[in-house]
């Protein structure tokens, strides 16, 4: 084409446009090759012209020298345009590729997260369903037992011995009902955190409400129940029902495991970790205490010091694990010290709002 049109015509323009176009379309390395080809072509044409191979037909309007200067200028211009364009295009491409890579990674991570979430939700659904079914399957036979007791009470109401026995059946069945209902409720709370409702609670009111209950429990066992409520001003942020359950578990245990003496509950406001104000509830009993080698296990679910069919004490073995779990959930601290045969002191501390 150069030979036909001559380097001073459209061929010359095409020749020098070539590297710029190459750099845009194919990148920096092909652009350098194109510039190289241009240089070689121009040099070859110059030499051939100098040797007078074309017999003056090629350079009809220029002197060879001025043509060479223009050509070199064009090549310099080429370098100046091709290189930045190639770098710009290459950079753009690279950053696009990087972005795609990052996006792909992100998408993958999101997918994984989504899958994990779906799986967790599915497990929760299954667990919730299972618990609802278990509750139903459990209540049906208990209804059988308690219902038949009511039938017996109705048909044999003159037989006072029998009625005494059915009372015991009712009591046992009700205890079973309470235990299982409690376990199901705990499991449900665990599988669905939404059951926890935090609110600002004035502990005085609650303590006053539950005191009579423990008074009766303690009196039934011939124990003294003393409560030193120092009317603290501190307000705590807890789920009220769970807070009551925690107190029930710890104070209930103190009464359960004490046969002689007293249970003393002391409520004060005190400074603990990080100079913060805490509500402190200490429950001190003169009961059987906790054996040293069992002390590290007391917060484990289902752990009980006396086990097997001959175990001395009733209960599901969940009370303390629940108390610890929720006390800590509310930002509180649970601790104890105990000596076998002497008694136990529990302390519950909740941060004041």
């Amino acid at each position: 084409m150069l030979i036909i049109l001559g380097p001073n015509g459209a061929g010359l323009i095409w020749l020098f446009a070539f590297p710029t176009l190459t750099s845009i379309m194919a990148g920096i390395r092909p652009a350098f090759i194109a510039i190289g080809i241009n240089l070689l072509t121009v040099t070859a044409l110059g030499i051939l012209n100098h040797l007078n191979i074309f017999h003056g037909t090629l350079m009809n309007s220029y002197h060879t020298e001025s043509w060479a200067v223009i050509s070199v200028n064009f090549i310099c211009l080429n370098m100046l345009t091709s290189i930045p364009i190639a770098m710009l295009v290459g950079g753009l491409e690279r950053s696009l590729k990087e972005e795609e890579k990052i996006e792909a990674l992100l998408r993958e991570e999101q997918k994984k997260l989504h899958e994990a979430k779906e799986k967790a939700e599915e497990m929760n659904r299954l667990k919730t369903n299972f618990l609802a079914n278990m509750s139903h399957e459990f209540r049906t036979p208990v209804n059988g037992i308690l219902g038949l007791v009511q039938v017996i009470n109705q048909e044999y109401k003159e037989d006072s011995n029998l009625i005494e026995h059915t009372k015991l059946i009712t009591r046992s069945a009700n205890r079973l009902l309470n235990t299982i209902t409690g376990i199901i409720e705990i499991s449900r709370k665990e599988s669905e955190g939404k059951y926890i409702k935090l609110s600002e609670v004035h502990p005085n009111k609650i303590i006053e409400e539950i005191t009579p209950l423990f008074q009766v429990m303690a009196e039934n066992k011939g124990l003294k129940f003393i409560i030193n409520n120092n009317s603290v001003e501190c307000i705590i942020k807890v789920d009220e029902n769970i807070f009551i359950q925690i107190l029930n578990n710890i104070i209930g245990n103190a009464i359960k495991f004490t046969d002689n003496g007293e249970v003393v509950v002391e409520i004060i406001q005190t400074i603990k970790q990080n100079d913060k104000q805490y509500l402190s509830i200490t429950i001190k009993d003169t009961g059987i205490g906790i054996a040293e080698d069992f002390q590290e296990k007391i917060f484990n679910p289902f752990e009980q010091e006396s086990q097997g069919y001959a175990r001395q004490f009733e209960g599901s073995g969940l009370g303390l694990s629940i108390a610890k779990k929720y006390t800590e959930l509310f930002g509180g601290i649970i601790s104890f010290s105990s000596k076998k045969g002497k008694g136990t002191i529990f302390e519950l501390a909740f941060p004041c709002v």
Binding site: A132, S135, H136, E137, F138, R139, T140, V142, N143, G144, I145, L146, G147, L148, Q150, V151, Q154, E155, A173, L177, I184, E185, R188
Partner: protein
């Protein structure tokens, strides 16, 4: 003495049916249905003052909730009080069954006194 109220008991469990029958037979006239199909047929033909409806009726395609809704649509039993009597007794179940349209909710294990008190409230 006033006439006894007519009650339809829908319950698939034999023992629970026996218990309800034993506890209520003195004060009420009882009709028994072991599944939703029987219950719907009986409700189509007879007027009842109350229906005690179990929710889980075994492997039936119609459960107690659906059966309650169909009985509500029946001419003879438009005004019939329909009670859910069920072992579904989680804390949120009471609201669930009342929202579905039951007139009262009795979780199992049942207390005879609760049931009789509510049944006595119904006017003929």
């Amino acid at each position: 003495m006033t006439e006894k109220k007519k009650i339809l008991i829908v319950e698939d469990d034999d023992i629970n049916m026996f218990i309800l029958e034993s506890l209520l037979k003195k004060e009420f006239v009882l009709t028994k249905a072991k599944n939703a199909g029987e219950a719907l047929k009986l409700a189509e033909e007879n007027k009842f003052d109350a229906v005690l409806m179990d929710i889980n009726l075994g492997n039936e395609s119609i459960d107690g909730i659906e059966a309650m809704k169909r009985i509500r649509d029946m001419e003879k039993n438009v005004d019939t009080q329909i009670f859910a009597v069920t072992s579904y007794a989680l804390p949120e179940d009471r609201k669930r069954f009342l929202d579905e349209g039951f007139d009262a909710y009795f979780p199992k294990p049942l207390l005879k006194e609760d049931l009789i008190r509510e049944l006595n409230k119904i006017s003929f």
